[in-house]
């Protein structure tokens, strides 16, 4: 699984890194950073939670 964030769409709702801080991190402004786009199997569910709770549909997942 790969997870990506479109930084043009992210406006810092912060849901992803609050709900799944193993996959998503925050920059200084509170926008989403993804340190590792390759998601290990044990974190796939977490990545999905982040994706499903982004109000801007800024996160995408490729399986």
């Amino acid at each position: 699984m790969k997870v990506r964030v479109d930084s043009d769409l992210c406006v810092g709702h912060g849901r992803c890194y609050v709900l799944a801080d193993d996959v998503f991190e925050a920059d200084d402004r509170g926008h989403c950073l993804i340190p590792n786009e390759d998601v290990p199997p044990e974190l796939e569910d977490k990545a999905r939670v982040g994706e499903q709770n982004c109000p801007e549909h800024a996160i995408s997942i490729e399986e």
Binding site: V11, H13, V18, A26, D28, R29, Q52, N53, E56
Partner: protein
């Protein structure tokens, strides 16, 4: 016959006859989406109700502008950053976002918890309270004054400022705008004086921070800082008051849901999100059409004032399966209670912190609260403050 039944018999609501019960807006939202997804009203401008149209309007600031033409609230210059359009908008958000990012607001948690407990201490022994004045108003207002470094004795003055702007006590339009404009001048003058004091004697507070801030190599002008403070005053007080009021009112009327949070406080963060979705305390945000555009089969003209109905989008089944089911464990909750797009509520993370901590302390200390028998909560129009919320509960023995 209730208002809702009377309207649902007619296929379309007559233009301008938009009557919303602020205690139970959900049924009206459902009807709007079904029958009049774009509704022109006399007082609220043009209502946009469907989830996809709301998302579209929020994400296209170039078509649906949040500038000064969108709403009159007593200010003489654009509020910063809300009424600044992209691309200039981002330079202010770059300065302000870090101050309100989750990591930063987390530093306030202990303070917010202590304050919540102090407010509860003041009424817990009596077994009852009027929740709005005892908790919902003082919590966010005190947090706000502390954050900006302003004296707590100015609380009543701030409440007067924000009430005069948000809900002036008149229905007469000229008088309405006169009160707003006069209060606006008082707000500018208040902050101008405090900023003079901070220039003389800098302190470790946000206002001093603004005086020393660097934006693209420049200092903020005095007017810039006033335009930020004006917005903070309007955005920071009423919204959290309304949100905690809406949530506690809902929970007081749904004891099985309240009990869930008492039995398992780990559900509180999910409850905050779900109640933000279901209640949407700030039901709509104002925009103005920047250039002619077609939306949902209707032609909208440049200059037309719009209300983007966040509350309606948040219960649209096209965005939320089983939208009427208030589920604290909803797996996908992309609610728009804090708006969306570039103007996403700057204070959303602070609001979430205050709401979570408030619910944690209330459910720990007065777990069996309910509406006082024979009474009912009263909601305000516009921002849905529950300005009368009589509660009873078992006092500690």
């Amino acid at each position: 016959m209730s208002e809702v039944e009377s309207v649902s018999e007619t296929p379309e609501m007559p233009t301008g006859q938009f009557d919303l019960d602020p205690a139970k807006p959900q049924a009206i939202y459902d009807m709007l989406r079904e029958h009049s997804p774009i509704l022109r009203t006399e007082l609220g401008g043009t209502m946009i109700a469907r989830h996809e149209d709301v998302e579209f309007a929020l994400r296209h600031a170039e078509l649906f502008s949040s500038d000064m033409d969108a709403i009159s609230i007593g200010n003489v210059r654009p509020l910063i950053p809300l009424q600044i359009n992209p691309p200039e908008h981002v330079k202010y958000r770059r300065l302000l976002d870090p101050l309100f990012a989750p990591k930063q607001v987390a530093l306030l948690e202990n303070d917010v918890r202590k304050l919540s407990n102090q407010l509860i201490d003041d009424f817990i022994d009596t077994g009852e309270c009027e929740f709005n004045s005892a908790f919902a108003i003082p919590l966010p207002c005190t947090v706000f004054l502390r954050l900006l470094g302003l004296p707590l004795e100015d609380l009543d003055l701030f409440l007067k400022f924000k009430d005069n702007i948000i809900r002036p006590e008149t229905r007469e339009p000229t008088e309405y705008e006169r009160i707003q404009a006069e209060t606006g001048q008082e707000i500018y003058a208040y902050f101008d004086k405090v900023l003079d004091e901070r220039e003389q004697q800098p302190r470790d507070d946000m206002l001093t921070g603004f005086l020393e801030a660097d934006v693209d190599g420049n200092r903020l002008s005095r007017e810039d800082i006033l335009d930020i403070c004006y917005l903070f005053l309007l955005a920071g007080l009423d919204t959290v008051t309304a949100s905690v009021g809406c949530m506690v009112s809902y929970l007081a009327q749904h004891p099985e849901q309240r009990q869930r949070l008492v039995d398992d406080p780990s559900q509180i963060p999910g409850a905050v999100e779900e109640l933000l979705r279901w209640e949407t305390p700030v039901p709509g945000v104002p925009r103005v059409v920047a250039e002619d555009v077609d939306l949902c089969g209707e032609h909208l003209e440049a200059g037309e004032r719009i209300t983007v109905l966040l509350g309606s989008a948040n219960i649209d089944e096209r965005g939320f399966p089983q939208p009427d089911n208030v589920d604290f464990e909803r797996p996908a909750n992309r609610h728009l209670a804090f708006g969306g797009g570039v103007h996403r509520c700057l204070g959303s993370h602070l609001a979430r912190l205050e709401l979570r901590v408030a619910l944690e302390q209330l459910h720990e200390r007065i777990p069996d609260y309910s509406i006082k028998p024979g009474e009912e909560p009263k909601y305000t129009m516009g921002i849905r403050a529950v300005d009368y919320l009589p509660l009873v509960f078992t006092p500690p023995s």
